[in-house]
């Protein structure tokens, strides 16, 4: 039984990691774009972006998942996500990407705005271009400052993926729960916690390593 459960949970955990990984791949760059929008000098860009961030950060991710999955069906009376498992996964991914990109954008914004203006001015008077200043001078300093809040957010994402089961996206908790009905046992559900712990433990080590690597400057 233990082996059957472990294999089933491992399979579910693959779903968890897929959602986690794809969310990061899209939300990390999208968050940077959103942060530029929220710092834009143009009010027509800045205010709508800030409004979006407020909506996304001000409502539960669970609700966003439901609205993104069911909303288009109600508005256009046709389910744009398709009916199958793949469609539900895409809908969940979109919800996660939007949600996490907004959170990341605020972390980026905090990091970028914390860099002293003198760093830009030093680049300016040395005749560097704006692009050179951002990529050669500013970016690594921002990365160093945002690693701790980012690692927090990313570890939260590992666990948040379990919310996707409200729209029946298969992940580890979903698989653990099926044993309650099929075999009348609840321990597989508790056992899922071990998988989360091991994975977030690995991430913690990774972020500690990155922080160490960036310790050579202040």
């Amino acid at each position: 039984m233990f082996i059957t459960v472990t294999l089933s949970l491992l399979e579910g955990f693959l779903g968890t990691i897929k959602l986690f990984g794809l969310t990061l791949i899209f939300a990390l760059p999208l968050g940077l774009i959103i942060s530029f929008g929220s710092m834009s000098k143009i009010a027509f860009i800045r205010y709508p972006v800030k409004f979006l961030i407020w909506i996304i950060r001000g409502t539960p991710l669970l609700l966003q998942l439901l609205i993104i999955y069911y909303g288009p069906g109600i508005v256009f009376s046709n389910n744009i996500w398709g009916s199958g498992e793949g469609g539900r996964f895409i809908a969940a991914l979109v919800a996660f990407v939007i949600n996490y990109a907004c959170y990341f954008s605020e972390i980026y914004r905090g990091g970028i705005q914390s860099i002293p203006i003198g760093q830009y001015e030093a680049g300016d008077v040395l005749g560097m271009t704006k692009t050179q200043i951002f990529f050669k001078v500013i970016l690594l300093q921002v990365v160093k400052r945002i690693v701790p809040p980012m690692s927090n957010e990313i570890i939260t994402l590992v666990k948040d993926t379990s919310l996707a089961r409200v729209i029946a996206v298969y992940e580890i908790i979903w698989n653990g729960q099926t044993f309650i009905k099929s075999a009348g046992i609840i321990w597989p559900l508790f056992y899922t916690g071990v998988f989360y712990l091991i994975f977030s433990g690995g991430l913690t080590l990774l972020f500690r390593y990155i922080e160490k690597k960036l310790d050579f400057f202040r």
């Binding site: 003198g118 560097m128 690594l140």
Partner: protein, 256 residues
């Protein structure tokens, strides 16, 4: 030979006139000190020369070439501004070294980037050799591979001076270069600036060190409330000021 001609520079922030009709000249190899109390506009003037602030009027000429003309309203491209500001170098009060680069990398970074863009025909190895020579001249030959946080304030400021010199500016500007330093560290920075003046580097130094201004600068400008109250030979202005406001300002220093 006149290197820098500044005429009738004006600058407002919101409704405050920070610079009112500033005019002066600087000859090749001369060191000019700008003195005055905080808020007199000294720093803003330096920032205007370095295109960190845009004046609201007036003219700036370097080697006879018009760099800024308040009557000309065409907007410069980023590229044009970059090219113009390279006539000047600027050493900041707070050093502003790049923390993730070593002393030598701080010095060579901008010249290497410029060489990559093909602006100057210099070879990378020549740029690095020049950077080492400059740091050596600043007395930092054993500190080239240190990161800024491993250096004292005085050492950081000397790296910043080498970094500004590496681009061979026509005029090197210092914005209160010792104000952020502990008193025991100001000497080492003032010493290298003095050496530069002996080598006839054209310089503008905003400073609160009156003795230094008197001994090192050729000319002094005293500014108050956005105007040049008095300018002339450094020793003359500081020892025998003609204007009452200059006298008042200087007396605060001799008492203090």
């Amino acid at each position: 030979m006149i290197v820098l001609e500044v005429s009738n520079i004006r600058k407002n922030f919101e409704n405050t006139e920070v610079l009112k009709d500033i005019s002066f000249e600087l000859a090749q190899g001369e060191a000019l000190s700008i003195i005055g109390s905080s808020g007199s506009g000294k720093t803003t003037l330096l920032r205007c020369l370095n295109f960190l602030e845009k004046p609201d009027g007036g003219k700036i000429k370097v080697n006879g070439k018009l760099l800024y003309d308040g009557d000309d309203h065409t907007r410069f491209s980023e590229e044009e501004i970059r090219e113009r500001r390279l006539n000047f170098g600027l050493v900041f009060q707070s050093f502003n070294l790049f923390p993730q680069y070593t002393a030598l990398e701080n010095v060579t970074m901008a010249p290497l980037l410029a060489a990559k863009e093909g602006k100057k025909g210099e070879r990378d190895s020549a740029i690095i050799e020049n950077g080492k020579a400059l740091l050596d001249k600043m007395g930092l030959s054993d500190r080239m591979d240190n990161y800024p946080h491993q250096l004292s304030g005085g050492q950081q400021q000397r790296v910043a001076i080498a970094r500004a010199l590496a681009l061979n500016p026509n005029i090197l500007c210092f914005d209160e270069p010792t104000s952020a330093l502990d008193p025991e560290l100001t000497g080492e920075v003032l010493k290298v600036i003095k050496e530069l003046s002996i080598e006839k580097t054209t310089m503008i130094i905003v400073t609160h060190e009156m003795a230094f201004a008197r001994d090192v600068a050729d000319k002094v400008i005293f500014m108050d409330e956005g105007v040049i109250v008095e300018q002339g030979d450094a020793r003359e202005v500081i020892e025998n000021p003609k204007e009452e406001r200059t006298r008042q300002f200087l007396s605060r220093y001799s008492e203090g």
